[in-house]
Protein backbone atom coordinates (compact mmCIF):
# COMPACT_ATOMS: atom_id res chain seq x y z
CA UNK A 1 0.00 0.00 0.00
CA UNK A 2 1.37 3.36 -0.96
CA UNK A 3 -1.02 5.94 0.42
CA UNK A 4 -2.96 4.89 3.48
CA UNK A 5 -5.72 6.96 5.01
CA UNK A 6 -7.07 5.59 8.25
CA UNK A 7 -10.10 6.74 10.19
CA UNK A 8 -9.79 10.39 9.25
CA UNK A 9 -12.39 12.72 10.80
CA UNK A 10 -12.81 16.45 10.33
CA UNK A 11 -15.49 18.83 11.60
CA UNK A 12 -16.04 22.41 10.46
CA UNK A 13 -17.80 24.14 13.32
CA UNK A 14 -20.72 21.84 13.97
CA UNK A 15 -20.75 20.38 10.47
CA UNK A 16 -18.97 17.02 10.22
CA UNK A 17 -17.18 17.00 6.86
CA UNK A 18 -15.45 13.62 7.30
CA UNK A 19 -16.69 10.84 9.56
CA UNK A 20 -13.88 8.36 9.98
CA UNK A 21 -12.83 7.63 6.40
CA UNK A 22 -10.33 4.84 5.68
CA UNK A 23 -8.97 4.43 2.18
CA UNK A 24 -5.80 3.37 0.42
CA UNK A 25 -4.20 3.95 -2.95
CA UNK A 26 -1.60 1.73 -4.60
CA UNK A 27 1.50 3.13 -6.29
CA UNK A 28 0.59 4.42 -9.72
CA UNK A 29 -3.12 4.03 -9.15
CA UNK A 30 -5.71 6.38 -10.59
CA UNK A 31 -8.33 6.82 -7.88
CA UNK A 32 -11.54 8.85 -8.06
CA UNK A 33 -13.37 10.34 -5.10
CA UNK A 34 -16.97 10.53 -6.20
CA UNK A 35 -19.86 12.09 -4.33
CA UNK A 36 -22.43 14.85 -4.28
CA UNK A 37 -21.50 18.28 -2.94
CA UNK A 38 -21.06 18.21 0.83
CA UNK A 39 -19.98 14.56 0.81
CA UNK A 40 -16.51 15.48 2.08
CA UNK A 41 -14.55 14.53 -1.02
CA UNK A 42 -12.72 17.85 -1.38
CA UNK A 43 -12.00 17.96 2.35
CA UNK A 44 -10.39 14.52 2.10
CA UNK A 45 -8.21 15.74 -0.77
CA UNK A 46 -7.20 18.85 1.18
CA UNK A 47 -6.35 16.70 4.22
CA UNK A 48 -4.01 14.58 2.09
CA UNK A 49 -2.35 17.72 0.71
CA UNK A 50 -2.11 19.27 4.17
CA UNK A 51 -4.36 22.24 3.41
CA UNK A 52 -6.81 21.04 6.07
CA UNK A 53 -5.80 19.38 9.32
CA UNK A 54 -7.99 16.44 10.40
CA UNK A 55 -9.33 16.24 13.96
CA UNK A 56 -8.30 12.61 14.21
CA UNK A 57 -6.98 9.75 12.10
CA UNK A 58 -3.76 9.13 10.19
CA UNK A 59 -2.44 9.63 6.68
CA UNK A 60 0.64 7.61 5.75
CA UNK A 61 2.70 7.42 2.60
CA UNK A 62 4.91 4.31 2.40
CA UNK A 63 4.60 4.09 6.18
CA UNK A 64 5.71 7.68 6.74
CA UNK A 65 3.39 9.96 8.72
CA UNK A 66 2.25 12.68 6.32
CA UNK A 67 0.31 14.62 8.93
CA UNK A 68 3.54 15.37 10.79
CA UNK A 69 4.82 17.36 7.79
CA UNK A 70 3.74 20.87 6.82
CA UNK A 71 2.13 21.35 3.39
CA UNK A 72 5.22 22.64 1.70
CA UNK A 73 7.34 19.65 2.66
CA UNK A 74 4.88 17.00 1.51
CA UNK A 75 5.67 17.21 -2.19
CA UNK A 76 2.11 16.54 -3.16
CA UNK A 77 0.96 18.14 -6.40
CA UNK A 78 -2.41 19.84 -6.08
CA UNK A 79 -4.51 21.17 -8.96
CA UNK A 80 -7.18 23.50 -7.65
CA UNK A 81 -10.71 23.56 -9.00
CA UNK A 82 -10.26 27.11 -10.29
CA UNK A 83 -6.56 26.43 -10.95
CA UNK A 84 -5.33 29.21 -8.59
CA UNK A 85 -2.69 30.24 -11.11
CA UNK A 86 -0.54 33.20 -10.05
CA UNK A 87 -2.21 35.89 -12.12
CA UNK A 88 0.74 38.25 -12.35
CA UNK A 89 3.10 35.53 -13.59
CA UNK A 90 3.34 34.06 -17.07
CA UNK A 91 2.57 30.38 -17.65
CA UNK A 92 6.32 29.63 -17.62
CA UNK A 93 6.84 31.57 -14.38
CA UNK A 94 3.92 29.73 -12.82
CA UNK A 95 5.47 26.40 -13.73
CA UNK A 96 8.92 27.44 -12.50
CA UNK A 97 7.58 28.70 -9.15
CA UNK A 98 7.85 25.35 -7.36
CA UNK A 99 11.42 24.71 -8.51
CA UNK A 100 12.44 28.26 -7.54
CA UNK A 101 10.90 27.75 -4.08
CA UNK A 102 13.30 24.97 -3.11
CA UNK A 103 16.03 25.54 -0.56
CA UNK A 104 19.20 26.78 -2.18
CA UNK A 105 21.07 23.47 -1.92
CA UNK A 106 18.36 21.61 -3.84
CA UNK A 107 17.39 24.36 -6.24
CA UNK A 108 18.15 23.61 -9.91
CA UNK A 109 20.18 26.19 -11.85
CA UNK A 110 18.43 28.79 -13.98
CA UNK A 111 19.24 26.88 -17.15
CA UNK A 112 17.93 23.61 -15.73
CA UNK A 113 14.70 25.29 -14.62
CA UNK A 114 14.26 26.78 -18.09
CA UNK A 115 14.81 23.39 -19.69
CA UNK A 116 12.40 21.67 -17.33
CA UNK A 117 9.72 24.33 -17.92
CA UNK A 118 10.06 23.79 -21.68
CA UNK A 119 9.70 20.02 -21.18
CA UNK A 120 6.59 20.48 -19.05
CA UNK A 121 5.03 22.94 -21.50
CA UNK A 122 5.64 20.33 -24.17
CA UNK A 123 4.13 17.60 -21.98
CA UNK A 124 0.92 19.57 -21.51
CA UNK A 125 0.91 20.60 -25.17
CA UNK A 126 1.36 24.30 -24.58
CA UNK A 127 4.63 24.88 -26.47
CA UNK A 128 5.01 28.52 -27.36
CA UNK A 129 2.45 29.71 -24.83
CA UNK A 130 4.89 29.99 -21.90
CA UNK A 131 4.97 33.78 -22.18
CA UNK A 132 1.23 34.20 -21.84
CA UNK A 133 -0.45 35.39 -18.66
CA UNK A 134 -3.30 33.28 -17.21
CA UNK A 135 -5.83 35.91 -18.34
CA UNK A 136 -4.67 35.32 -21.93
CA UNK A 137 -5.29 31.57 -21.84
CA UNK A 138 -8.48 29.56 -22.33
CA UNK A 139 -9.98 27.50 -19.51
CA UNK A 140 -8.52 24.24 -20.82
CA UNK A 141 -5.09 25.83 -21.27
CA UNK A 142 -5.12 27.25 -17.74
CA UNK A 143 -6.00 23.82 -16.45
CA UNK A 144 -2.99 22.33 -18.18
CA UNK A 145 -0.70 25.09 -16.87
CA UNK A 146 -1.95 24.28 -13.37
CA UNK A 147 -1.19 20.62 -14.02
CA UNK A 148 2.30 21.36 -15.34
CA UNK A 149 2.94 23.59 -12.31
CA UNK A 150 1.95 20.76 -9.97
CA UNK A 151 4.08 18.25 -11.90
CA UNK A 152 7.12 20.57 -11.79
CA UNK A 153 7.79 19.75 -8.14
CA UNK A 154 8.13 16.06 -9.08
CA UNK A 155 5.33 15.15 -6.69
CA UNK A 156 4.93 11.76 -5.07
CA UNK A 157 1.15 12.02 -5.39
CA UNK A 158 -0.98 14.15 -7.69
CA UNK A 159 -4.29 15.49 -6.39
CA UNK A 160 -6.89 17.06 -8.67
CA UNK A 161 -9.93 18.89 -7.30
CA UNK A 162 -12.80 18.75 -9.82
CA UNK A 163 -10.29 18.95 -12.67
CA UNK A 164 -12.91 19.44 -15.35
CA UNK A 165 -15.54 21.25 -13.30
CA UNK A 166 -15.09 24.68 -14.83
CA UNK A 167 -14.86 23.57 -18.47
CA UNK A 168 -17.49 23.12 -21.14
CA UNK A 169 -18.60 19.63 -22.14
CA UNK A 170 -16.49 19.18 -25.29
CA UNK A 171 -13.21 20.41 -23.79
CA UNK A 172 -14.00 18.28 -20.79
CA UNK A 173 -14.15 15.04 -22.80
CA UNK A 174 -10.94 15.87 -24.69
CA UNK A 175 -9.06 16.70 -21.50
CA UNK A 176 -10.36 13.57 -19.83
CA UNK A 177 -8.81 11.32 -22.44
CA UNK A 178 -5.66 13.40 -22.38
CA UNK A 179 -5.37 13.18 -18.58
CA UNK A 180 -5.76 9.39 -18.68
CA UNK A 181 -3.02 9.28 -21.27
CA UNK A 182 -0.80 11.55 -19.18
CA UNK A 183 -1.33 9.26 -16.20
CA UNK A 184 -0.24 6.26 -18.28
CA UNK A 185 2.95 8.09 -19.19
CA UNK A 186 3.88 9.51 -15.77
CA UNK A 187 2.69 6.54 -13.70
CA UNK A 188 2.01 8.92 -10.84
CA UNK A 189 -0.37 7.97 -8.02
CA UNK A 190 -3.28 10.25 -8.83
CA UNK A 191 -6.42 11.03 -6.86
CA UNK A 192 -9.12 13.22 -8.31
CA UNK A 193 -12.36 14.54 -6.95
CA UNK A 194 -15.50 14.69 -9.04
CA UNK A 195 -19.25 14.79 -8.71
CA UNK A 196 -19.66 13.45 -12.25
CA UNK A 197 -20.16 9.67 -12.19
CA UNK A 198 -19.42 9.32 -15.90
CA UNK A 199 -16.06 11.02 -15.42
CA UNK A 200 -15.19 8.79 -12.47
CA UNK A 201 -16.19 5.54 -14.20
CA UNK A 202 -14.41 6.56 -17.42
CA UNK A 203 -11.09 7.59 -15.94
CA UNK A 204 -10.36 5.85 -12.68
CA UNK A 205 -8.86 2.46 -11.86
CA UNK A 206 -10.93 2.52 -8.70
CA UNK A 207 -13.71 4.76 -7.50
CA UNK A 208 -14.48 5.67 -3.89
CA UNK A 209 -18.07 6.83 -3.42
CA UNK A 210 -18.58 9.22 -0.52
CA UNK A 211 -21.80 10.24 1.14
CA UNK A 212 -22.19 12.59 4.11
CA UNK A 213 -18.51 12.37 5.00
CA UNK A 214 -18.39 8.58 5.02
CA UNK A 215 -17.21 6.02 2.50
CA UNK A 216 -20.19 4.31 0.86
CA UNK A 217 -18.33 1.90 -1.42
CA UNK A 218 -14.89 1.50 -3.02
CA UNK A 219 -14.23 -0.58 -6.08
CA UNK A 220 -13.42 -0.75 -9.76
CA UNK A 221 -15.92 0.92 -12.10
CA UNK A 222 -17.27 -2.55 -13.05
CA UNK A 223 -17.76 -3.55 -9.44
CA UNK A 224 -19.56 -0.34 -8.63
CA UNK A 225 -21.77 -0.51 -11.67
CA UNK A 226 -22.64 -4.19 -11.45
CA UNK A 227 -22.52 -4.73 -7.69
CA UNK A 228 -23.62 -1.48 -6.05
CA UNK A 229 -23.53 -1.84 -2.29
CA UNK A 230 -26.42 0.49 -1.61
CA UNK A 231 -29.37 2.24 -3.18
CA UNK A 232 -27.33 5.46 -2.95
CA UNK A 233 -24.50 4.07 -5.07
CA UNK A 234 -26.93 2.61 -7.61
CA UNK A 235 -28.76 5.91 -7.83
CA UNK A 236 -25.60 7.99 -8.06
CA UNK A 237 -23.97 5.96 -10.82
CA UNK A 238 -26.66 6.37 -13.44
CA UNK A 239 -30.23 7.18 -14.37
CA UNK A 240 -32.58 5.35 -12.05
CA UNK A 241 -36.24 4.39 -12.04
CA UNK A 242 -37.87 3.11 -8.85
CA UNK A 243 -41.08 1.22 -8.17
CA UNK A 244 -42.72 0.10 -4.96
CA UNK A 245 -42.70 -3.72 -4.79
CA UNK A 246 -43.07 -6.60 -2.38
CA UNK A 247 -40.49 -9.36 -2.13
CA UNK A 248 -41.99 -12.88 -2.08
CA UNK A 249 -40.04 -16.09 -2.45
CA UNK A 250 -37.01 -14.47 -4.07
CA UNK A 251 -38.84 -12.39 -6.67
CA UNK A 252 -40.04 -8.80 -6.62
CA UNK A 253 -43.76 -8.48 -7.26
CA UNK A 254 -44.50 -5.29 -9.19
CA UNK A 255 -48.11 -4.61 -10.22
CA UNK A 256 -48.93 -8.29 -9.92
CA UNK A 257 -46.02 -9.52 -12.01
CA UNK A 258 -42.98 -11.35 -10.61
CA UNK A 259 -39.62 -9.81 -11.56
CA UNK A 260 -36.25 -11.51 -10.90
CA UNK A 261 -33.97 -9.83 -8.39
CA UNK A 262 -30.25 -9.18 -9.01
CA UNK A 263 -27.94 -9.14 -6.02
CA UNK A 264 -28.71 -9.56 -2.35
CA UNK A 265 -32.17 -8.99 -0.94
CA UNK A 266 -32.29 -9.41 2.78
CA UNK A 267 -35.90 -9.57 3.71
CA UNK A 268 -39.37 -10.45 2.51
CA UNK A 269 -42.12 -7.86 2.35
CA UNK A 270 -42.47 -4.30 1.07
CA UNK A 271 -39.41 -2.74 -0.52
CA UNK A 272 -38.31 -0.45 -3.33
CA UNK A 273 -37.26 -1.91 -6.69
CA UNK A 274 -34.48 -0.11 -8.63
CA UNK A 275 -33.76 -0.39 -12.35
CA UNK A 276 -32.13 1.56 -15.19
CA UNK A 277 -34.36 3.10 -17.88
CA UNK A 278 -32.87 0.71 -20.45
CA UNK A 279 -33.87 -2.33 -18.34
CA UNK A 280 -37.56 -1.69 -18.93
CA UNK A 281 -39.76 -3.66 -21.36
CA UNK A 282 -43.00 -2.45 -22.85
CA UNK A 283 -46.06 -4.61 -23.52
CA UNK A 284 -49.63 -4.21 -24.75
CA UNK A 285 -52.19 -2.65 -22.41
CA UNK A 286 -53.69 -6.12 -21.66
CA UNK A 287 -50.42 -7.58 -20.30
CA UNK A 288 -49.22 -7.53 -16.67
CA UNK A 289 -47.22 -4.49 -15.55
CA UNK A 290 -47.43 -0.81 -14.69
CA UNK A 291 -49.98 1.07 -16.81
CA UNK A 292 -48.55 4.16 -18.52
CA UNK A 293 -49.63 6.69 -21.12
CA UNK A 294 -47.04 7.68 -23.71
CA UNK A 295 -46.52 11.44 -23.80
CA UNK A 296 -43.77 11.66 -26.38
CA UNK A 297 -41.59 9.36 -28.49
CA UNK A 298 -38.04 10.62 -29.06
CA UNK A 299 -36.34 8.79 -31.91
CA UNK A 300 -32.93 10.43 -31.62
CA UNK A 301 -29.71 9.45 -29.88
CA UNK A 302 -28.19 5.99 -29.40
CA UNK A 303 -31.37 4.77 -27.66
CA UNK A 304 -34.89 5.82 -28.46
CA UNK A 305 -36.79 7.28 -25.51
CA UNK A 306 -40.40 7.06 -24.46
CA UNK A 307 -41.54 9.87 -22.24
CA UNK A 308 -44.37 8.20 -20.28
CA UNK A 309 -46.70 9.13 -17.46
CA UNK A 310 -47.61 6.66 -14.70
CA UNK A 311 -51.11 6.46 -13.21
CA UNK A 312 -49.81 8.42 -10.22
CA UNK A 313 -48.95 11.29 -12.57
CA UNK A 314 -45.19 10.76 -12.20
CA UNK A 315 -43.02 10.80 -15.31
CA UNK A 316 -41.23 7.61 -16.38
CA UNK A 317 -38.38 7.52 -18.86
CA UNK A 318 -38.09 4.30 -20.92
CA UNK A 319 -35.09 3.62 -23.18
CA UNK A 320 -35.65 1.21 -26.05
CA UNK A 321 -34.07 0.11 -29.32
CA UNK A 322 -35.21 2.38 -32.15
CA UNK A 323 -37.12 -0.37 -34.00
CA UNK A 324 -39.26 -1.15 -30.94
CA UNK A 325 -39.92 2.49 -30.12
CA UNK A 326 -40.83 3.32 -33.72
CA UNK A 327 -44.01 1.24 -33.32
CA UNK A 328 -45.23 3.41 -30.42
CA UNK A 329 -47.13 6.66 -30.86
CA UNK A 330 -47.94 9.43 -28.40
CA UNK A 331 -51.13 8.87 -26.34
CA UNK A 332 -50.77 5.06 -26.58
CA UNK A 333 -51.66 3.11 -23.44
CA UNK A 334 -48.95 0.56 -22.56
CA UNK A 335 -47.71 -1.62 -19.74
CA UNK A 336 -44.12 -1.24 -18.52
CA UNK A 337 -42.19 -3.86 -16.52
CA UNK A 338 -38.51 -4.09 -15.64
CA UNK A 339 -36.69 -7.22 -16.83
CA UNK A 340 -34.81 -7.44 -13.55
CA UNK A 341 -34.48 -5.20 -10.50
CA UNK A 342 -32.34 -4.57 -7.45
CA UNK A 343 -34.19 -4.31 -4.19
CA UNK A 344 -33.46 -2.17 -1.17
CA UNK A 345 -35.61 -1.61 1.87
CA UNK A 346 -35.57 2.15 1.90
CA UNK A 347 -35.33 4.71 -0.85
CA UNK A 348 -31.79 6.17 -0.63
Amino acid sequence: MSLEISDVAKTFGRFPALNGVSLFAEDGEFLALLGPSGSGKTTLLRVIAGLDVPDSGAVRFHGEDLLAKPVRQRRIGFVFQHYALFRHMTAAQNIAFGMRSRVKAERPSGAEIKKRVAELLDLVQLDGLGGRYPAQLSGGQRQRVALARALAIEPKILLLDEPFGALDAKVRRELRRWLRDLHERTGLTTIFVTHDQEEALDLADRVAVLKDGALEQVGTPEELYHEPASAFVFDFLGDTVTFPCSVKGGVAVIAGAGVPIIGPHAHEGDAIAYARPDQLDIAAAEALGLPVVVRNVILAGPDARLDCVLESGEALDVRLPHDVAAKVSPRDHLKVLPRAVRVWAQQR
Binding site: G50, L51, V71, R72, Q73, F78, A84, R87, F97
Partner: protein, 285 residues
Protein backbone atom coordinates in the same frame (compact mmCIF):
# COMPACT_ATOMS: atom_id res chain seq x y z
CA UNK B 1 -29.28 66.46 -30.01
CA UNK B 2 -32.92 66.59 -29.03
CA UNK B 3 -33.66 63.69 -31.37
CA UNK B 4 -30.86 61.69 -29.81
CA UNK B 5 -32.18 62.21 -26.31
CA UNK B 6 -35.71 61.20 -27.30
CA UNK B 7 -34.58 57.76 -28.37
CA UNK B 8 -34.71 56.54 -24.81
CA UNK B 9 -37.91 57.34 -22.92
CA UNK B 10 -35.99 57.35 -19.66
CA UNK B 11 -33.86 60.22 -20.95
CA UNK B 12 -36.63 62.38 -22.32
CA UNK B 13 -35.76 65.17 -19.87
CA UNK B 14 -36.56 68.70 -21.03
CA UNK B 15 -33.44 70.61 -22.19
CA UNK B 16 -33.95 73.35 -19.59
CA UNK B 17 -33.58 70.71 -16.84
CA UNK B 18 -30.36 69.37 -18.31
CA UNK B 19 -28.90 72.86 -18.61
CA UNK B 20 -30.03 73.87 -15.12
CA UNK B 21 -28.52 70.77 -13.51
CA UNK B 22 -25.18 71.32 -15.23
CA UNK B 23 -25.15 75.01 -14.29
CA UNK B 24 -26.02 74.31 -10.65
CA UNK B 25 -23.25 71.71 -10.39
CA UNK B 26 -20.70 74.01 -11.99
CA UNK B 27 -21.69 77.00 -9.88
CA UNK B 28 -21.61 74.97 -6.69
CA UNK B 29 -18.21 73.46 -7.40
CA UNK B 30 -16.77 76.82 -8.44
CA UNK B 31 -17.98 78.49 -5.31
CA UNK B 32 -17.08 75.72 -2.87
CA UNK B 33 -14.04 74.11 -4.47
CA UNK B 34 -12.33 75.92 -7.36
CA UNK B 35 -12.55 79.47 -6.08
CA UNK B 36 -10.93 78.75 -2.68
CA UNK B 37 -8.23 76.69 -4.33
CA UNK B 38 -7.39 79.45 -6.78
CA UNK B 39 -7.54 82.03 -3.98
CA UNK B 40 -4.91 80.11 -2.03
CA UNK B 41 -2.43 80.49 -4.87
CA UNK B 42 -3.41 84.09 -5.69
CA UNK B 43 -3.09 85.20 -2.07
CA UNK B 44 0.18 83.34 -1.69
CA UNK B 45 1.68 85.22 -4.63
CA UNK B 46 0.07 88.59 -3.86
CA UNK B 47 3.34 90.16 -2.68
CA UNK B 48 5.34 88.62 -5.51
CA UNK B 49 7.38 85.52 -6.09
CA UNK B 50 10.29 86.77 -3.97
CA UNK B 51 8.12 87.24 -0.90
CA UNK B 52 6.57 83.83 -1.56
CA UNK B 53 9.92 82.09 -1.67
CA UNK B 54 11.14 84.03 1.34
CA UNK B 55 8.12 82.87 3.34
CA UNK B 56 8.96 79.29 2.46
CA UNK B 57 12.59 79.82 3.43
CA UNK B 58 11.80 80.97 6.97
CA UNK B 59 13.51 78.55 9.41
CA UNK B 60 10.17 77.97 11.13
CA UNK B 61 8.52 77.21 7.79
CA UNK B 62 11.25 74.76 6.85
CA UNK B 63 10.92 73.12 10.27
CA UNK B 64 7.15 72.79 9.76
CA UNK B 65 7.62 71.25 6.32
CA UNK B 66 10.25 68.84 7.64
CA UNK B 67 8.07 67.86 10.61
CA UNK B 68 5.02 67.31 8.41
CA UNK B 69 6.92 65.10 5.99
CA UNK B 70 8.46 63.07 8.84
CA UNK B 71 5.16 62.64 10.68
CA UNK B 72 3.31 61.73 7.49
CA UNK B 73 6.07 59.34 6.42
CA UNK B 74 6.13 57.54 9.74
CA UNK B 75 2.32 57.41 10.11
CA UNK B 76 1.96 56.05 6.57
CA UNK B 77 4.67 53.46 7.17
CA UNK B 78 2.99 52.28 10.38
CA UNK B 79 -0.44 52.17 8.78
CA UNK B 80 0.86 50.36 5.72
CA UNK B 81 2.37 47.60 7.84
CA UNK B 82 -0.75 47.48 9.99
CA UNK B 83 -3.07 47.64 6.96
CA UNK B 84 -1.30 44.74 5.26
CA UNK B 85 -1.34 42.65 8.43
CA UNK B 86 -5.01 43.39 9.12
CA UNK B 87 -6.10 42.78 5.53
CA UNK B 88 -4.11 39.54 5.42
CA UNK B 89 -5.69 38.37 8.69
CA UNK B 90 -9.22 39.31 7.68
CA UNK B 91 -9.06 38.01 4.12
CA UNK B 92 -7.12 34.77 4.55
CA UNK B 93 -8.23 33.47 7.95
CA UNK B 94 -11.44 32.93 9.86
CA UNK B 95 -11.29 33.89 13.49
CA UNK B 96 -13.53 34.93 16.34
CA UNK B 97 -14.25 38.66 16.41
CA UNK B 98 -13.48 39.24 12.74
CA UNK B 99 -16.54 41.38 12.06
CA UNK B 100 -15.85 43.41 15.19
CA UNK B 101 -12.33 44.08 13.92
CA UNK B 102 -13.71 45.18 10.53
CA UNK B 103 -16.04 47.66 12.23
CA UNK B 104 -13.28 48.97 14.51
CA UNK B 105 -10.96 49.63 11.58
CA UNK B 106 -13.53 52.13 10.30
CA UNK B 107 -13.84 53.92 13.64
CA UNK B 108 -11.31 56.70 12.90
CA UNK B 109 -13.49 57.67 9.92
CA UNK B 110 -16.47 58.34 12.11
CA UNK B 111 -15.02 60.00 15.21
CA UNK B 112 -13.94 63.62 15.22
CA UNK B 113 -10.14 64.05 14.93
CA UNK B 114 -10.25 66.37 17.95
CA UNK B 115 -11.42 63.43 20.04
CA UNK B 116 -8.63 61.28 18.58
CA UNK B 117 -6.17 63.85 19.83
CA UNK B 118 -7.90 64.25 23.16
CA UNK B 119 -7.73 60.54 24.04
CA UNK B 120 -3.95 60.67 23.75
CA UNK B 121 -3.84 63.64 26.10
CA UNK B 122 -6.08 61.72 28.51
CA UNK B 123 -3.80 58.67 28.25
CA UNK B 124 -0.32 60.16 28.11
CA UNK B 125 -0.77 63.77 29.29
CA UNK B 126 0.64 65.01 32.62
CA UNK B 127 -2.67 64.24 34.33
CA UNK B 128 -3.47 61.25 32.13
CA UNK B 129 -3.62 57.55 33.01
CA UNK B 130 0.02 56.86 32.18
CA UNK B 131 1.13 60.44 32.89
CA UNK B 132 2.77 59.84 36.29
CA UNK B 133 4.51 56.65 35.13
CA UNK B 134 5.83 58.35 31.97
CA UNK B 135 6.95 61.31 34.07
CA UNK B 136 8.92 59.03 36.40
CA UNK B 137 10.70 57.50 33.43
CA UNK B 138 11.32 60.87 31.81
CA UNK B 139 9.29 60.05 28.73
CA UNK B 140 7.26 62.79 27.16
CA UNK B 141 4.69 62.01 24.50
CA UNK B 142 2.28 64.91 24.47
CA UNK B 143 3.71 68.09 22.86
CA UNK B 144 6.37 66.03 21.06
CA UNK B 145 6.99 64.41 17.69
CA UNK B 146 5.85 61.08 19.16
CA UNK B 147 2.47 62.47 20.18
CA UNK B 148 1.89 64.13 16.81
CA UNK B 149 2.79 60.93 15.00
CA UNK B 150 0.53 58.83 17.23
CA UNK B 151 -2.43 61.16 16.68
CA UNK B 152 -1.86 61.27 12.92
CA UNK B 153 -1.50 57.48 12.78
CA UNK B 154 -4.81 57.01 14.58
CA UNK B 155 -6.68 59.38 12.30
CA UNK B 156 -5.28 57.83 9.10
CA UNK B 157 -5.43 54.20 10.27
CA UNK B 158 -8.25 52.96 7.98
CA UNK B 159 -6.92 54.14 4.61
CA UNK B 160 -4.55 51.33 3.64
CA UNK B 161 -6.55 48.54 5.31
CA UNK B 162 -9.79 49.71 3.69
CA UNK B 163 -8.26 49.58 0.21
CA UNK B 164 -6.77 46.13 0.71
CA UNK B 165 -9.48 44.20 2.57
CA UNK B 166 -12.18 44.00 -0.15
CA UNK B 167 -9.64 43.11 -2.83
CA UNK B 168 -7.91 40.45 -0.76
CA UNK B 169 -11.26 39.01 0.33
CA UNK B 170 -12.32 38.76 -3.30
CA UNK B 171 -9.07 37.07 -4.28
CA UNK B 172 -9.40 34.47 -1.53
CA UNK B 173 -6.53 32.28 -0.39
CA UNK B 174 -6.33 29.68 -3.17
CA UNK B 175 -3.17 31.18 -4.65
CA UNK B 176 -1.48 31.15 -1.24
CA UNK B 177 -2.55 27.54 -0.76
CA UNK B 178 -1.16 26.71 -4.21
CA UNK B 179 2.14 28.38 -3.30
CA UNK B 180 2.30 26.28 -0.12
CA UNK B 181 1.75 23.01 -2.00
CA UNK B 182 4.55 24.08 -4.37
CA UNK B 183 6.93 24.35 -1.43
CA UNK B 184 6.99 28.11 -0.85
CA UNK B 185 7.45 29.38 2.69
CA UNK B 186 5.50 32.19 4.31
CA UNK B 187 7.72 35.09 3.24
CA UNK B 188 8.17 33.86 -0.30
CA UNK B 189 4.41 33.44 -0.59
CA UNK B 190 3.87 36.94 0.74
CA UNK B 191 6.38 38.70 -1.48
CA UNK B 192 5.87 36.62 -4.64
CA UNK B 193 2.11 35.98 -4.54
CA UNK B 194 0.14 38.09 -2.08
CA UNK B 195 1.91 41.43 -2.44
CA UNK B 196 2.03 41.54 -6.27
CA UNK B 197 -1.69 40.74 -6.35
CA UNK B 198 -2.55 43.82 -4.31
CA UNK B 199 0.24 46.22 -5.31
CA UNK B 200 -1.97 48.80 -7.04
CA UNK B 201 -4.55 48.85 -4.30
CA UNK B 202 -1.71 49.18 -1.79
CA UNK B 203 -0.15 52.17 -3.60
CA UNK B 204 -3.57 53.77 -3.88
CA UNK B 205 -4.17 53.34 -0.15
CA UNK B 206 -0.70 54.68 0.69
CA UNK B 207 -1.31 57.80 -1.43
CA UNK B 208 -4.67 58.54 0.17
CA UNK B 209 -3.15 57.95 3.58
CA UNK B 210 -0.26 60.30 2.80
CA UNK B 211 -2.55 63.09 1.63
CA UNK B 212 -4.69 62.79 4.72
CA UNK B 213 -1.70 62.53 7.09
CA UNK B 214 -0.07 65.70 5.75
CA UNK B 215 -3.25 67.72 6.09
CA UNK B 216 -4.33 66.50 9.53
CA UNK B 217 -5.19 69.43 11.80
CA UNK B 218 -7.67 68.57 14.56
CA UNK B 219 -5.95 65.67 16.29
CA UNK B 220 -2.50 67.21 15.87
CA UNK B 221 -3.70 70.59 17.22
CA UNK B 222 -4.69 68.95 20.50
CA UNK B 223 -1.44 67.05 21.13
CA UNK B 224 1.16 69.35 19.56
CA UNK B 225 1.27 72.43 21.80
CA UNK B 226 1.89 74.68 18.74
CA UNK B 227 5.57 75.31 19.46
CA UNK B 228 6.93 77.18 16.44
CA UNK B 229 9.82 75.48 14.76
CA UNK B 230 9.37 72.42 16.97
CA UNK B 231 5.92 70.89 17.10
CA UNK B 232 4.05 72.97 14.53
CA UNK B 233 3.19 70.95 11.44
CA UNK B 234 2.31 72.72 8.23
CA UNK B 235 -1.44 73.05 8.92
CA UNK B 236 -0.73 74.29 12.44
CA UNK B 237 1.92 76.70 11.17
CA UNK B 238 -0.59 78.11 8.68
CA UNK B 239 -2.95 78.80 11.54
CA UNK B 240 -0.23 80.45 13.64
CA UNK B 241 0.81 82.73 10.77
CA UNK B 242 -2.78 83.58 10.01
CA UNK B 243 -3.47 84.52 13.63
CA UNK B 244 -0.40 86.79 13.48
CA UNK B 245 -1.87 88.52 10.41
CA UNK B 246 1.00 87.28 8.16
CA UNK B 247 -1.51 86.46 5.47
CA UNK B 248 0.78 85.97 2.50
CA UNK B 249 3.16 83.79 4.49
CA UNK B 250 0.18 81.75 5.71
CA UNK B 251 -1.06 81.37 2.18
CA UNK B 252 2.41 80.46 0.92
CA UNK B 253 2.55 77.47 3.27
CA UNK B 254 -1.08 76.68 2.52
CA UNK B 255 -0.34 76.70 -1.21
CA UNK B 256 2.45 74.23 -0.66
CA UNK B 257 0.07 71.92 1.22
CA UNK B 258 -2.50 72.33 -1.55
CA UNK B 259 0.18 71.52 -4.09
CA UNK B 260 1.09 68.31 -2.23
CA UNK B 261 -2.59 67.38 -2.31
CA UNK B 262 -2.90 68.15 -6.02
CA UNK B 263 0.19 66.08 -6.86
CA UNK B 264 -1.20 63.20 -4.78
CA UNK B 265 -4.49 63.50 -6.63
CA UNK B 266 -2.74 63.48 -10.00
CA UNK B 267 -0.70 60.39 -9.11
CA UNK B 268 -3.85 58.75 -7.76
CA UNK B 269 -5.71 59.39 -11.01
CA UNK B 270 -2.81 57.99 -13.00
CA UNK B 271 -2.79 54.91 -10.78
CA UNK B 272 -6.53 54.48 -11.16
CA UNK B 273 -6.17 54.18 -14.91
CA UNK B 274 -3.41 51.64 -14.49
CA UNK B 275 -5.27 49.91 -11.67
CA UNK B 276 -8.39 49.51 -13.82
CA UNK B 277 -6.39 47.87 -16.61
CA UNK B 278 -4.67 45.47 -14.26
CA UNK B 279 -7.88 44.64 -12.47
CA UNK B 280 -9.72 43.80 -15.65
CA UNK B 281 -6.74 41.71 -16.78
CA UNK B 282 -6.64 39.89 -13.47
CA UNK B 283 -10.35 39.27 -13.14
CA UNK B 284 -10.53 36.13 -15.20
CA UNK B 285 -12.05 33.60 -12.89
Amino acid sequence: MTAKLEKSPARRDPPWLVVTLIMVTLAYMSLVLFLPLVTVFIEALRKGVDAYLAALHEPDALAAIRLTLMVAGLAVLLNTVFGLAAAWAVAKFDFWGKSALLTLIDLPFSISPVISGLVYVLLYGANGWFGPWLDEHNIQIIFTFTGITLATTLVTLPFVARELIPLMQEQGSDEEAAAATLGAGMWRTFFMVTLPNVKWALMYGVLLCTARAMGEFGAVAVVSGHIRGETATMPLYVEILYNEYSFSAAFAIASLLALFALVTLAVKTLLEVQFADELSAQRWR
